[in-house]
Point group: C2
Chain length 437, copies 2
Amino acid sequence: MEKMYYTQMEAARKGIVTPEMEIVAKKEGRDVAFIQQMVAEGKVVIPANPNHKGLDPNGIGSMLKTKINVNLGVSRDCKDINIEMQKVMSAVNMGAEAIMDLSSHGDTQPFRQKLCSECPAMIGTVPIYDSVIHYQRDLATLTAKDFIDVVRLHAKDGVDFVTLHCGISRNTIKQIQNGNREMNIVSRGGSLVFAWMAMTGNENPFYEYYDEILDICREYDVTVSLGDACRPGCLKDATDRCQIEELIRLGELTERAWAKDVQVMVEGPGHVPMDQIEANMKVQQTICKGAPFYVLGPLVTDIAPGYDHITAAIGGAIAAASGAAFLCYVTPAEHLALPNLEDVHQGIIASKIAAHAADIAKKIPGARDQDDRMAGARRKLDWDAQWLEALDPETAKAIRDSRAPEDDHSDTCSMCGKFCAVRSMNKALAGEYIDIL
Amino acid sequence: MEKMYYTQMEAARKGIVTPEMEIVAKKEGRDVAFIQQMVAEGKVVIPANPNHKGLDPNGIGSMLKTKINVNLGVSRDCKDINIEMQKVMSAVNMGAEAIMDLSSHGDTQPFRQKLCSECPAMIGTVPIYDSVIHYQRDLATLTAKDFIDVVRLHAKDGVDFVTLHCGISRNTIKQIQNGNREMNIVSRGGSLVFAWMAMTGNENPFYEYYDEILDICREYDVTVSLGDACRPGCLKDATDRCQIEELIRLGELTERAWAKDVQVMVEGPGHVPMDQIEANMKVQQTICKGAPFYVLGPLVTDIAPGYDHITAAIGGAIAAASGAAFLCYVTPAEHLALPNLEDVHQGIIASKIAAHAADIAKKIPGARDQDDRMAGARRKLDWDAQWLEALDPETAKAIRDSRAPEDDHSDTCSMCGKFCAVRSMNKALAGEYIDIL
């Protein structure tokens, strides 16, 4: 029997409501017809490869709750699959909606297949990272066909979205060589495409064979995440000609994907001064016709290594409030080292804060409900109720318990003790005498 | 001999350039005449009590670098003066321009005097906190004169600025009693004024005797920091009638202070959804005629106890980029416990990031220089040069060193190893062969 549809977008355009759309509508508290329409228009993607068994699908779009991605994967400096899988499950439990498997060491397929069979979050990959590893051959020796075969391999394994750096071309080489970019290209995948082009003299294979790749993505409903090779790697390079010229190409490539019913996200900066973030989001929305924007940061300063989960939370919150749909987490180890379990934890919390703050700002229905319950619990000095609403109850409780107030004012905390404003107000409004000493 | 001037504002208005204005101009890289004019107009304050010996003065104003304040002080649950002084000096070394001494236990004068003789950062206090402690009498037994005497005591001790909750009145009691505020009043000082009014039946002494207080502040050049008793304590209460009505009164009180040449800052929210922050800053600027805005957060969500340094960094960065001049730090222990040394560290770094990101956004001259140097160091993979530009070099270096790359790619870090984009690009642009395996 002929399949009714290959991709969520195709289904939506044919008027079919898929089980995934139903789940997304329910999760978002929105009408399924609305979700269907947004998927048909490309403004929402539901990355859901049918080969990813056990996926708990999510929608990504600027009018839905902001989603977060966590990058993990085995690498030369951290080879233990079990440690990585532990990080994955911890990330999912903390609320990550997507895991990107950036494995870059050894036989990568077992971990990828494990993810696609065990992990309920959507799975993304960057096939060009894996190409060198998969073939165990140096970059310059790989052919365009080799790259495409890896895309197909990942699609078959059940990957829900793939980052493809299609937007740079041989012209970019000249631009970077002649240009005034402080940091050149800082996208890992982008630099590999660049290096491959420089060494082989060929055109970017992900651009040259884009139609073939789209056919694979259509067959397995793999969402294309158009990588931004030219994302700025420092504030000085932000919103420059390199970046915006690539964005224009990504807009063209978005429409070519949509013509084949392939779902598309567009990746974005990077390192961006706060005052340029909203403009970046608005320009992406017009150039890419509302395709969901997936941002890597943006980091609002370059001088805070060790704290880039915070610089990214500032930028990510502003980006999401201005229209970005999907935030890639950034950990305190960014620019410095492979994140450990604690870094992953810190990175996820910071991203969740940014996403949640943005959802409130853009008035996603129900976004503030949890905050309102927290406020009620605080007014009552009901600590157990506060833990129920806290993003990370264990950490919050541990801080309070480690320095509990020492005596009879145990309804307060050691920050203010009997000076607690909430306590004073509750007494004052009840007409009670307020003892402070 | 008659004094030439009492306050920096008086001097500025008389056309006198004070040594403090010279220092501020030099630090900011601005013309001293510009600083003088801004001080004369009340748009910059230089809190500098002549009794604070050894002060290294700073200017606070929306067109200058954003400054940060750190709250410390001995309390019932942390009585050790030496631990607090250790925190103070660590805060100053990390770049805090102001320390607010919120001591609330025992004899508070020795610590305050120690601060005013040893600490180069400007010192602020909240006299109403100290009143109960100073007299060792319950709040309801204190008189208006008692409160005013404590303001004078702090002024004589050398305090550079005092927070006074002058903006609420007996009318506020009705408003809160009748109102729909979820969190009532969460300002510690505001709640004490409220409770005192409720218990004594009197008008707010800081409002009723405002002129007498201004005379003290004029004599010692103590900058008045107009406290916002009605700052929202949760997102639901943000930008409500209580808050804005108080702001209007703070605007009137600003002009009354300026009439006596007393320098004024205005304190601001609080808990505020991201989309309301800029509006809050703009309204304050018109209502208070450009008086510097000193914000406590704003926190952009209520659900992240344990991480409120991050929620405040998001809000503070947006606030400062929209016109706030001065950020009160928030630590991970906010809402939970008295901050320990590590919390203070985390809170300061987060505030510095917010302030710095905002300075770049509002194009403070030279604000991005350090970022540009960092970018250059990163492009060269020059790690020692990166530590020189890092906000917290020790932490950054420790992260890298704890997980250094294991072999011959030691110029990179364990995040990417040989996949390092910077390494690949440097090789590609030099025409070198790129080995990844």
